[in-house]
């Protein structure tokens, strides 16, 4: 497969692994921020090619995992309303809210549909003018442009029965929250390539300087990740703390200007609660006042309030890189993909789920 097989080449992987062994002289702890990278690392066994001195910590970059419980409960409340067609990407449907999940709501008669693009949800609204179509706008900077486009498209084409339930979060404030925490163990970061494809990496430069950590913008294929780790370790060994771009085939420093403009037109930066982490200031997006008619939380009166996490789940510590999934006493016993305690066990991008799927466990 062109543009993919080249980045899974065994000989090149061995070369990069050898270079990494050669450059590593002491222990380093590196966090890959993105859940897609966590998934690749475990799926391809990349962690097994690293020098034992390097520890990978798995970050908060799984949109499913950090969506707060109350947003999921709001989604469930909306999906139960008879006039609503609730649309979402597939992997949100299995995430447990405080009492049930969207797949179970569907089994009990809720009109819950998987879509592959928010524009598909707008089209569904156009074809069903007597119903209210709500799209679950979840994700990082990556999904924000398409969601912005869907709202603009709905206004532009006069589709009034479309709205979005927003749960958008931003990566740089989360990196800063991790770095500012007194329990921080992270010495270097792999930043998520696709997030930077949209937003660029200027925002990461002051973070690298202020906290003295190297940040390497990294892609998702095995060779991308190996090279990202290599560049990060080389900086650490040389005592540098810069932003480097491993994913130059997709990422420019200033990002994708039209996509950023579209996001800025529709959304504004706001405080956001992260599941397992808590509220982080200026870490999310909400619809601007001028677009609030498309905000499902404005359109419908929702009863869902604050909700607490199951006490046993340590996903917060996992998402901050303080603990690894297999250090949780419930992992693989009281917490499995069939009966998850927290979202990190649900999404394929969640660190707990990836450990459960790809690593031997009892």
């Amino acid at each position: 497969m062109k543009y993919l097989d080249e980045f899974r080449d065994p000989a090149a992987a061995r070369e990069l692994s050898a270079a990494l062994h050669a450059v590593t002289t002491r222990e380093w702890r590196i966090m890959e921020v993105c859940g897609g990278q966590t998934h690749s690392i475990l799926r391809f066994g990349i962690d097994q090619l690293l020098p034992p001195a390097i520890t990978l910590l798995h970050g908060p970059g799984c949109p499913v995992c950090v969506t707060p419980l109350e947003q999921i409960d709001k989604a469930i409340e909306l999906a139960r309303r008879p006039e609503v067609i609730f649309t979402s990407f597939g992997d949100m449907l299995r995430v447990p809210g405080s009492s049930t999940d969207l797949l179970s709501v569907k089994a009990q008669g809720g009109d819950v549909r998987i879509v592959y693009s928010p524009l598909e949800a707008v089209e569904l609204a156009r074809r069903n003018p007597q119903r209210q179509v709500v799209f679950f706008a979840v994700g990082f900077e990556t999904t924000a442009p398409a969601n912005a486009m869907a709202v603009r498209h709905a206004r532009g084409s006069g589709v009034a029965n479309f709205s979005i339930l927003v749960s958008h979060v931003l990566v740089p404030p989360a990196i800063e929250a991790i770095l500012a925490s007194p329990e921080c163990r992270v010495q270097g970061f792999l930043a998520a390539g696709h997030v930077c494809t949209v937003e660029g990496y200027e925002e990461y430069e002051p973070l690298a300087a202020r906290y003295g950590v190297p940040i390497v913008v990294t892609g998702f294929e095995p060779l991308d990740i190996l090279q990202g780790i290599y560049l990060c370790v080389r900086q650490l060994e040389e005592g540098r703390a810069e932003v480097e771009n491993q994913y130059a085939r997709a990422v420019r420093r200033q990002g994708n200007e039209p996509a950023r403009a579209s996001v800025r037109e529709v959304f504004e930066i706001s405080p956001r609660k992260w599941r397992g982490i808590g509220e982080i200031p200026q870490s999310g997006l909400r619809l601007r006042e001028s677009w609030s008619e498309y905000d499902a939380e404005n359109r419908f009166t929702l009863l869902t309030g604050e909700v607490d996490e199951p006490a046993e789940c340590i996903s917060g510590q996992i998402l901050r890189g303080v603990k690894k999934p297999n250090e949780c006493p419930a992992f693989g016993t009281r917490c499995t993909p069939e009966s998850p305690l927290g979202a990190t066990m649900v999404s394929t991008e969640g660190a707990c789920s990836a450990y459960y799927r790809y690593k031997p466990h009892a």
């Binding site: 497969m1 993919l4 899974r8 080449d9 065994p10 992987a13 061995r14 897609g36 475990l42 799926r43 391809f44 066994g45 990349i46 962690d47 097994q48 090619l49 949109p63 499913v64 990407f89 597939g90 992997d91 949100m92 449907l93 299995r94 797949l103 179970s104 569907k106 089994a107 009990q108 998987i114 879509v115 592959y116 598909e120 979840v138 994700g139 990082f140 990556t142 999904t143 696709h194 095995p222 060779l223 993909p337 069939e338 009966s339 999404s347 394929t348 991008e349 459960y356 799927r357 790809y358 690593k359 031997p360």
Partner: protein, 339 residues
């Protein structure tokens, strides 16, 4: 009347309703079958067909239902699939398929012309497989209560050899043969469903495999166990066999053939082709010293791994870059990812 909530072996607090995942070929379906159906009934084996001793000879007996939408898809339709599915389940026990039944659940309003096309396709598939459809049943339900039509087929077959093909026959060192490329049926269905707008030339692999099994048996291959890959794909089939045989299986990812367009579509949707449905592929466990001979009989097949040892149910796979991971059942169906 018994108290269902107290006697039901499935923890109803976890799943008080049937979910789509209970039919997805993963762990929830396995739990449902083992804890609810098998606990109540008297299953003969954990293979695709029951093998019954009838008047001194062995008879294979199986059943399968077909609910695919759309009814017609690139490379097949519900009718041919309903014949191939049951013929293949019989073939997986090593039996020669003999006769099928066909039961139809029809939705009010289904165009008669559509039904006729499905029935013609079934008849043609049966002729091509050398089986007869000898009995059947018809029911009609109100509009909205079925997706056009559902088909159930059952089948019987007889044995022309003395081999017992089941997970318990697997031995340490056995080679694992995969009969062709994987993932085509699932991706052909996805690409033809409304709402998913990607254009491709992917056609379903829906086909009878009884001929391939007969060729292996006729060539003197001492088959131990066969399993056709349906829902849940290659990964689920191998994990199920590993669990039944308590065998540790080692696979090599680069030996598993996947068409470029199937892989590309899977990458875009965030799906793993190992778990995507097939309708004309099977895995065969056979003595390692017969692997070359088996490949010469089925040139499209490949050896994808070996039975490393018995006593430990585990499937591992070496990735193209040399790392290794375990392969496990999914909960239910794969769901496309956010990003």
């Amino acid at each position: 009347m018994p108290d269902f909530t107290l006697s039901c072996p499935i923890p109803l607090t976890t799943y008080p309703h049937v979910l789509m995942a209970h039919g997805g070929g993963g762990r929830l379906m396995r739990n449902l079958i083992q804890q609810l159906f098998a606990a109540a009934f008297d299953p003969q084996s954990d293979t695709d067909s029951a093998v019954l001793a009838v008047s001194g000879s062995r008879l294979a007996f199986t059943t399968d239902s077909f609910v695919v939408t759309p009814l017609f898809f690139p490379g097949g339709d519900i009718g041919s699939m309903a014949v191939h599915g049951t013929v293949n389940d019989l073939a997986m026990s090593g039996a020669t398929p003999h006769s099928l039944s066909a039961a139809f659940i029809l939705e009010e309003g289904l165009p008669m012309e559509t039904l006729w096309r499905v029935v013609e396709s079934m008849a043609a598939a049966a002729r091509a497989c050398g089986v007869r459809i000898v009995t059947g049943d018809t029911k009609v339900v109100e509009r909205g209560k079925a997706d056009g039509l559902y088909i159930n087929t059952s089948g019987i077959g007889f044995f022309e050899h003395a081999l017992v093909l089941e997970p318990a026959s697997i031995r340490a060192g056995d080679a694992i043969l995969l009969s062709g490329d994987i993932g085509r049926h699932g991706m052909a269905i996805m690409s033809s469903r409304e709402g998913l707008q990607f254009e491709s030339d992917i056609t379903s692999d829906s086909a009878p495999v009884a001929g391939e099994v007969q060729a292996l048996l006729g060539g003197g291959i001492q088959l131990r166990c066969l399993r056709d890959l349906t829902r849940g794909g290659l990964a689920s089939a191998l994990v199920e066999i590993s669990l039944s045989a308590r065998a540790r299986l080692g696979l090599t990812e680069s030996a598993i053939q996947t068409r470029q367009d199937v892989r590309a579509a899977c990458e875009i949707l965030g799906l793993d082709p190992l778990y995507v449905a097939n309708e004309g592929r099977f895995v065969a466990f056979l003595p390692a010293d017969q692997a070359d001979q088996a490949i010469s009989i089925l040139p499209a097949a490949s050896i994808i791994g070996h039975v490393e040892r018995l006593g430990e149910p585990l499937v591992t796979m070496e990735s193209p870059i040399g790392g290794s991971r375990i392969i496990d059942l999914l909960s239910g169906e794969q769901l496309p990812r956010i990003c």
